[in-house]
Amino acid sequence: MLSSIPPFALFFLGAIAVAFTKGPVRKVLVLAIPLIGGLNLWFGVEPGVHLQIELLGYTLTPYRADKLSLLFGYLFHIAAFLGFVYALHLGDGTPVGSVASDVGEEDITGDKTAGLQHVSAMLYAGSALGAVFAGDLITLFVFWELLAVTSAFLIWARDSERSYATGFRYLIIHVVSGVLLLSGALMLAHSSGSVAFEHIDLSTAGPGAWILLIAFGIKAGFPLAHNWITDAYPESTPTGTVFLSAFTTKVAVYAIARGFAGADVLIYIGTIMTFFPIFYAVLENDLRRVLGYSMINQIGFMIAGIGIGTGLAVNGAVAHAFADVIFKGLLFMSMGAVMTMTGRTKGTDLGGLYKTMPLTATLCIFGASAISAFPMFSAFVTKSMIMVAAIEEHHYIVWLFMLFASAGVLEHAGIKIPFFAFFAHDSGIRAKEPPKNMLIAMSIGAVLCVLIGVFPMAFYTLLPMEMDYHPYDTTHVLVQLQLLCFGAIGFVTLMKSGIYPDEKRAVHVDAEVLYRKLGPWIVRSVGGAVARIDAYVRSSVMEVVGTALKGANRWHGSMGPLARSWPTGSMVLWVAVLLAAYLVFYLF
């Protein structure tokens, strides 16, 4: 019945309604909109083209549904719903039992900017939906830029100098991505005569396709373009980050899956993405930033899966994206709960919270188990598809890297996050459990993680490609358990034997000790090299930018020759010079 109304429209209208309401009405609204939209999508929308308009001689398809976009559509409705449940308490004042005010930073919970956050989150979710149901590149571009702008407000909602600067950096990167997208789209449109967003063959479509891939890649956090994720996510409010983690990168994964499935280059990009963030993740102290690195790592699996390109691999990639939104959301929610209640997110500042926040700790462990791909949890049934597809397509080295990365995931996300936040040394913080709505949101997330893990076949029917795959075969379960056990045993041994000095402020040392056992050369040579290359690229890029800016200022600044006001006599002389120049040009 509502099938001809694009899903984003409901959210955009909702945002207006939210902007003009307050209190309980607003709370009902923010919950009702994703619910109604989700139900409508589930029951009312058939695959097919639902809306077309003509613009500038091209056919635009602002609303097109197929299995791939529907899957992301369901996902984003779930994510929006969870996010709004999680953020429901905003505007009610500081939660009971919070010790956040101890840290001295004003309003660390983002309570003051509740209205702004709700409106921009609503618009943000709507933009993400618009993007995945966009049937052409121009519509995609519009939502691509809207995603950037609306999400930037979620970062600014923290309302601090730092978040302002971060949000601005974030916005610039995403606007650049949008401009590249439009450029690529124009080039493709010019060569093919159509702006429809379908599969693009990188080898034959010309430079436009590459520009498009770079545009998508920036949003997906490709290596060297990944900085914005770890830069921006830890700077948002506790609730804002939950929204941020759900949409932007997943829209990019969707776009790559639709446009570039089977492009070989993606396998290698994805593989690099799976393992390089691990080195940073283990060195990082801010737990939300650790999750940021972990996100790049998870996207790496998806990108590699898309690159492999078989039905199984692409299914694995999008399924993993689905699962990742939920378990990463759960982890960000638990860290957000910790931040809301304590005001801190640094591993060294926290610890021992399980005593007063047992529910949060348990739910966090659910998320950690899911991300580590324990059997019966979601990532197990999704990531394994990608790994199996890699073997089937004889990408053995890629598979090995992924295996290594999986172990890394266990260490930095599966163990480090819950351990440092809730266990480790007792920091003496006695914060209460977060507000109920936060707990409810986390519980729903945890249940979903388990449901997907336990009933994979039901979940698989939603996937876009045809395939025949069963996750729970003996080999797979055994391999995974072995990997997990060895990883866990290593960690526990180090802890118990006292090599792991838990009272020091250095996560850094802990990681080094751990890796000295696992393989010292990895940290020293590979990790060092990655860090050095990263630093080199960054510094040389900054240098080029700096020189360019200086040059621009010399010529274009207020006193530069191009901006100065000239005396009238010089102007006239200049005209005479030009007259002579033109005469010479035309006459000879």
Binding site: L182, N553, Y582
Partner: protein, 491 residues
């Protein structure tokens, strides 16, 4: 009556201009000026419709057949440009009522509106006439009145700016008349259609390239193509707000029309672009204009000046489109004429609102205006989005055509420069948005929202710039057909 429409669009305002000076009282003068503007607006719409339906209209003034008498010859290009001028004039006159009252002393009001109508009439006269000398005459009317209008600015630097514009504008007009004279000496005619017919026979005479040179320099000076734009920033910065909004959206546009008229109709695209290789002159200058002038705009801290430099960059876009000398390219140029008139008009009007309340348009005085003058600043953002070229704004439509035209010629780097220009526009628009929305206002200021008399015209243009960005079929269709007329490939 209706067969007189071509001449009525010019002579009715021309009759009203002295009337406005005669009535003496500024309110009455404003009514006269508004009548003139709205009359011309209505007639221009009628003319566009008639040209679309019937093709080129010819009107022989005095009953003398061309080329012996003066002919008004309105094809789609003329009608479209006249419509742009008339539309902006009709909106600007509403705006002027409030704005001019605050910025120009009342005893000058009557003369001011008289000059306003004269400027308006001159621009219309240029766009509809079919006679090159008549172009010059009306160019003088519009230029002289424009100098006087600019000199009415609050800041005393307006006088210097107007003086420089006077000198440069006179040089430009003189060059144009020298070019016309040289052409006359070779052909014995001043009628555009007749000239176009007779020029090829004498094209190998060296005098014609010299005429071509004088016209190139003269016209590019009038349209402020880099590097002959030097008069423009000061003139736009210090003129009264209503004048800046009007002149920025019309005067340079009419100069672009002259470029089209002389190089496509009079000389013919083949002669201009293949023999004279005009594209080799226009394209590099346009590209340099887009990049350097956008960069300069970034460094400005007076917003009117920032917009003025942005105008020079935007003129680069128009000329770039024209320099492709293809239907797509010229379409892009003509479309951007219209589109830029809408958005720059809106932006300068928004700045006029700021001027009205704050008394300055320097960036540091605009802190926190997003809260204090929400409608004004929202209008600025709307115009700014168009300047950047965000989809569903007119700016996007023109950039779209421009990039397509570049790609059609296989000029990837040119398309890249166009996109890069958009990025630079993001930066300079953002500069203003940042100050207005993200910096705290001085709590002592009691600045209120601008009055409706200013907001309504401003928003009319903003809404138009969105409307024609979403429904671009009408304008794009007219522009395409106009381009076909110019290139002689149309039906």
């Amino acid at each position: 009556m209706s067969q007189h429409l071509p001449v009525l669009i010019v002579v009715v305002p021309l009759l009203l201009a002295p009337l406005a000076a005669l009535v003496g009282n500024w309110k009455a003068a404003w009514i006269v000026a508004a009548a003139a503007s709205w009359w011309a607006f209505g007639v221009s719409i009628a003319l566009v419709r008639r040209v679309l339906a019937e093709g080129t209209i010819s009107y022989e003034i005095g009953g003398w057949a061309a080329p012996y008498g003066i002919e008004y010859r309105i094809d789609l290009v003329s009608a479209f440009v006249a419509m742009i001028v008339a539309t902006i004039g009709a909106v600007a006159i509403i705006y002027a009522r409030t704005s001019v009252r605050a910025e120009v002393s009342e005893d000058r009001g009557a003369l001011f509106y008289s000059a306003f109508i004269l400027c308006f009439t001159g621009l219309l006269g240029i766009s509809v006439t079919g006679d090159v000398f008549n172009i010059f005459v009306f160019l003088e009317v519009s230029s002289l009145s424009a100098y006087a209008l600019i000199a009415m600015g609050q800041d005393r630097r307006a006088l210097t700016a107007a003086y420089q514009y006077l000198i440069m504008g006179s040089v430009g007009a003189t060059f144009i008349v020298i070019g016309i004279g040289l052409m006359y000496s070779m052909t014995g005619t001043l009628n555009i259609a007749d000239l176009a017919e007779r020029l090829p026979a004498v094209a190998d005479n060296r005098t014609i390239p010299v005429a071509f040179t004088f016209l190139t320099v003269g016209i590019t000076l009038k349209l402020a193509l880099f590097p002959l734009h030097l008069w423009l920033p000061n003139a736009y910065t210090y003129a009264p707000s209503a004048v800046t909004a009007f002149i920025a959206s019309t005067a340079t546009k009419v100069a672009v029309y002259l470029l089209l008229r002389f190089f496509f109709t009079v000389f013919g695209a083949e002669f201009s672009f293949e023999q004279m290789q005009l594209d080799k002159v226009l394209m590099p200058l346009a590209l340099v204009a887009i990049v350097t002038m956008s960069l300069v705009a970034i460094y400005q801290d007076n917003v009117k000046r920032l917009l003025a430099y942005s105008s020079v960059a935007q003129i680069g876009y128009m000329v770039l489109g024209i320099s492709f000398a293809s239907v797509l390219g010229v379409t892009a140029g003509i479309l951007h004429l219209f589109n830029h008139a809408l958005m720059k008009g809106a932006l300068f009007m928004a700045m006029g609102c700021v001027m009205y309340r704050v008394g300055s348009v320097r960036l540091e005085r605009m802190k926190g205006l997003g809260k204090k003058m929400p409608w004004t600043m929202a209008a600025f953002v709307g115009g700014g989005l168009s300047l950047i070229g965000v989809p569903f704004t007119v700016g996007f439509v023109s950039k779209w055509y421009l990039v397509q035209a570049a790609l059609e010629r296989g000029m990837w780097p040119v398309a890249a420069v166009v996109m890069f220009g958009s990025l630079l526009a993001v930066i300079y628009v953002w500069k203003v948005v940042e100050v207005a929305y993200f910096q705290e206002a001085d709590p002592d200021d009691d600045i209120r929202e601008a009055p409706l008399g200013l907001l309504i015209p401003t928003w009319a243009l903003v809404i138009a710039s969105f409307y024609f960005g979403i429904d671009a079929t009408t304008t794009a269709d007219i522009a395409t057909r106009a381009a076909e007329v110019l290139l002689g490939v149309g039906p």
